[in-house]
């Protein structure tokens, strides 16, 4: 149960760091945010999956 709570807790910060990294990439003109934003969706989905896995174990 603790690991489940940990996953929900660190979900926000990790998404935030990713968002920051994508924005930084965008600013350096390497990859535009218009191309990389789906990464956020994927990450969100992965977190949801981890949450489910945690719930099943409990």
């Amino acid at each position: 149960m603790t690991s489940d709570a940990l996953v929900t807790a660190i979900r926000g910060p990790i998404l935030l760091i990713t968002l920051g990294a994508l924005m930084a990439l965008d600013q350096t003109d390497r990859v535009s945010f218009g191309r990389t934003w789906p990464v956020l969706l994927i990450l969100f989905g992965v977190f949801k999956l981890m949450e489910r896995a945690g719930a099943r174990n409990a």
């Binding site: 660190i10 926000g12 990790i14 935030l16 990713t18 968002l19 920051g20 924005m23 535009s32 218009g34």
Partner: protein, 479 residues
Amino acid sequence: MKRGSLVGPLLLIGIGGLFLARNVFPDLQLLDYLARYWPLLLILWGGLRLLEILIWTATAKPLPAQGISGGEWVLVIFLCMFGASLHAVRGFSTWFPRSGIELGGLEVFGQSFEYPVSGEAATSKTPKIVLESFRGNARIVGADVQMVKVAGRNTVRSLDQQAAERANREAGFEVSGDANQVVIRANQNRISGNLRMTADLDITVPKGASITARGRGGDFDIHGITGSVEIDSDNASVRLEDIGGEVRAELRGSDIVRALNVQGGIELKGRGSDIDLQNIQGPVTVNGNFSGVTQFHNLAKPLRFITAYSEFAVEKLPGDVRIAIGDLSASNLIGPVRFTSTRSWDLRLNNFSNSLEINQNGGDVDLRPGSLPLAKIDVRKRTGRIELALPAAAKFDLTATTNQGEISNDFGGILTFDPGRHGRGRSLHGGNGGATVNLTTDRGDIVVRTGLASDSEPAARAAEGKTPAASKPPVQVEQ
């Protein structure tokens, strides 16, 4: 008791520290730094929060239900919008007005379909060529012909082939007009739906032709014509070579404007990035926000470079000017030279003749007038250092004043200090009856020394090592 995060207070301290830093060092371009580095704030914020949660886990403290609360996400979104618009306004990149977030996904899912296009029309020797509603790449070359010949292809980016074919038909590429005016229409604005169309055209025109291009964007590569060029485009890269007439371009987000060997004048307006103009016989005016690197070389007529906050004018430029954000260096200029700005700029002017007038807010100024006799020099700024290197034989009448800072006299005995005159400030004056040289800064150091206009400082010093003025020890005044 609900325990709050450390990150909120830390953010407050950080913001307070930034504003304090700006008050202490007014030269600091806080907005520029913010515009450039704001994504790091997001990363820092997330990183701190993550660290905090990991520490809480390790010490078996209760974890919050959400790592980042709803309120904080709202703040993040505001920060993103603020950062992105600041970034766009300061002009470091162009993604904001150009694309935004591409939800259509054509770039990802679509396919490219290509269709050849061509057309020709007989013309007089000096026709006017008009490119209407154009998006794509156009290479226009002048030749000894009396016709306009267009060859190239349309590229349609679409999800399926039928739609692409229909779009190509709908657009209906056409070349029309009479002997004096030929209109080339790509008609990309006609197509509807989820499609994107660009044209790649090779256009051969008579040498005497004049070109007018209007459109959403693309690359224009024009060379070898004696007429004028006029471009009005959203996102255009413009490359011009051997143009006989006037060049006018109004751009709203160009990557580069490069012109080589133009007999007429050049007028650039709008927004964009890099500019590179060389061997221009007519007057050059650049007016707008060009945020990249701007370079000028060998301009025979006056140059005016105008931005929202600054203006730089030179009468003639046999040498070079290089301008990047907040930094201007120039050598071999013929004045009157004038620079006015409400922003901070570092200026390095090397080998200029005739009068010089600088009126600016902050930044360092490094002046090395080359040729004698010296003309009038007038520098006024609020903050920042001024360094002036005068040839040992120069005739001048100098007054240097700082209200807060040091003046060092590396020139020699004809200059004397006058401490009491400006309260707690310093003033240095003297001369041998020549041009008026006036250096004023509210806050900053002033250095007056001997030196020639040369890029290599040691060489300049060695060259004048024999002169009596240079052999005297520098006189320095402590503040």
